[in-house]
């Protein structure tokens, strides 16, 4: 019997990628998601990445690491990442385990994640303008 693996959809909205992580993902599909997202960032122009984890009942260290890796990879490729939809239980667990997603922006929900991305972009633009002025 062949295990059916559903690829996680990667939605492109304006110039942001939106990925909603699914509950019950196997390690293999997490790896595949990481490869897919990296590839899409490389192929298509994008400036922001939102990882929505609200569908996850829990986050183990593997998924946490994958999320952080994706954020670092995306930043290296010039894409700002926001993780959104963490539940209080997952937040407490992450803190207790010492997995604090350092260097990753977080937001309470998708809407605020989009807002945060726009704000970050605006800030970049301002910095550019001020450096031009110099």
């Amino acid at each position: 019997m062949i295990a059916v693996e559903y690829a996680t959809p990667i939605i492109r909205l304006y110039d942001n990628f939106i990925v909603a992580l699914q509950g019950g993902m196997s390690d293999a599909s997490v790896d595949r998601l990481r490869a897919d997202v990296t590839e899409r960032i490389g192929n298509q122009t994008a400036r922001g990445l939102i990882l929505d984890v609200s569908a996850l009942a829990y986050m183990d260290s593997f998924v946490t690491r994958a999320v952080r890796d994706l954020a670092v990879i995306a930043r290296l490729m010039g894409v700002t990442t926001v993780v959104c939809g963490l539940s209080p239980e997952i937040a407490i667990t992450l803190i207790d385990m010492g997995l604090e997603l350092p260097g990753v922006m977080t937001a309470l929900n998708m809407e605020r994640a989009l807002e945060a991305l726009f704000r970050a972009r605006e800030q970049d633009a301002n910095e550019l303008r001020s450096s031009d002025a110099i």
Binding site: C84, P88, I92, I95, T106, L108, N109, A113, E115, F118
Partner: protein
């Protein structure tokens, strides 16, 4: 007395001699000085002698220091009596001492007839020992029964048909019975329709059962029913039951449970009171902390604040420490964790109202509260939240100009 063979033997004498030769008897005679003049009988064998062997010996010297010496002296003094004599071996004898007197009536020797009763005496001793044992055991049983009748228990027994064979115990009066009163009645009939009937049936079918039942209003019994079997066979001979009055225990258990429930309710009320979360403005939550903060409470504070953040979709969380006089390392640690978790949720935290003593402690302990935004008063914290909120809203909505894809 002399064995005279000249005249024809009296047939009665022949019978006596025959009896002496075959029965465990010793027949002897002493002269007035205590010398044997006759010693006959089969009984001499067990004394290590043979008929006639002792004749001429001094009996008082041979038996010196034994009960036999005293008896013989009494007989030589003219007394006639019967005695039970035990000589070393041990051999037990029933002995008749007969005094012999001369023509003037003065004591002149004695006759003795001893019948060995060692076997009978031993049997009797054994019997007496057994009787003593039986008496001891019956005493023990009496004491046990007395104890059982005084204690809040009942011990009972029934035959395979359910007929009660034994019924003792101090619980019985509570059932309206006297000890032994229900003997002969059928237990199944007595308890028909009560909760005890099922366990009685089970035990009669051969299963060991233990139950805890309310047998009557205000009377709870813990019971054990043990089927007794005949030797190796599986055949049920009787069922032994032991019941203990558990009314008091059951009642105190119930009371304890009720008290625990009250305490639990109160504790949850106190917990709820300890972590009141106030929505002070749109998207701004405030948690005023009052009194001592231990790790249990901080962990509850953390959970309820984070849940409130998710529920209210807040952007800012203010923790007000105005009411906290003292903090320790673990409290400060928990606060830092609380702010980290809030940040992971995407919420900005503000700490306000830190008292001088608390601030000194935090510095003295070397705690890193540097990452946490702090203000002096709750008012300042709220002011900061509001201006930050406005700034965010402006930054987002005023310049929200999504570019088309491509």
């Amino acid at each position: 007395m002399q064995a005279d063979s000249h005249p024809p033997m009296d047939p009665r004498l022949a019978v006596f001699l025959k009896v002496l030769d075959s029965a465990p008897l010793v027949l002897w005679a002493l002269d007035k000085n205590g010398k044997f003049t006759l010693a006959e009988g089969r009984g001499l064998e067990s004394l290590g002698s043979t008929p006639g062997a002792w004749v001429g010996r001094d009996a008082l010297e041979d038996w010196k220091g034994t009960p036999a010496e005293d008896a013989m002296r009494r007989a030589l003094a003219g007394e006639e009596f019967r005695a039970s004599i035990t000589v070393p071996g041990p051999h037990h004898y029933d002995v008749w001492y007969i005094s012999v007197r001369d023509a003037s009536g003065a004591p002149n020797g004695m006759y003795g007839l001893a019948i060995e009763v060692t076997a009978e005496r031993e049997a009797k001793t054994r019997l007496e020992e057994k009787l003593a044992l039986v008496e001891q055991q019956s005493e023990k049983i009496n004491n046990l029964t007395r104890a059982i009748n005084a204690a809040p228990v009942t011990v009972w027994m029934m035959d395979p048909q359910g007929k009660i064979l034994l019924s003792e115990g101090g619980v019985l009066p509570k059932l309206g019975l006297k000890a032994g009163e229900s003997v002969g009645l059928n237990a199944l009939d007595m308890f028909r329709g009560t909760s005890a009937e099922e366990s009685i049936r089970q035990s009669l079918s051969g299963a060991t059962s233990s139950t805890a039942e309310d047998i009557a209003p205000g009377l709870s019994l813990d019971s054990w029913l043990v089927p007794l079997r005949e030797g190796d066979t599986d055949e049920l001979t009787a069922v032994l039951g032991l019941s203990v009055d558990a009314t008091e225990r059951r009642r105190s258990e119930r009371e304890l449970r009720e008290k625990l429930e009250v305490i639990e309710r109160q504790a949850s009320t106190i917990r709820a009171l300890a972590t009141p979360i106030i929505r002070v403005w749109d998207e701004v939550l405030c948690l005023p902390v009052i009194g001592t903060v231990d790790s249990q409470r901080t962990s509850e504070m953390m959970t309820s604040l984070l849940e409130a953040i998710a529920r209210e979709q807040a952007r800012f969380a203010i923790v007000d420490l105005t009411g906290v006089e003292v903090v320790d390392t673990s409290t400060a640690d928990h606060l830092i964790r609380l702010f980290k978790a809030a940040r992971v949720l995407g919420v900005e935290g503000v700490l306000c109202g830190i008292r001088p003593a608390v601030a000194q402690t935090v510095v003295a302990l070397g705690m890193e509260l540097g990452e946490v935004r702090t203000t002096r008063t709750l008012q300042d914290a709220l002011k900061w939240c509001l201006s930050r909120r406005t700034a965010l809203a402006e930054a987002t909505s005023a310049r929200f100009q999504p570019r088309p894809a491509g």
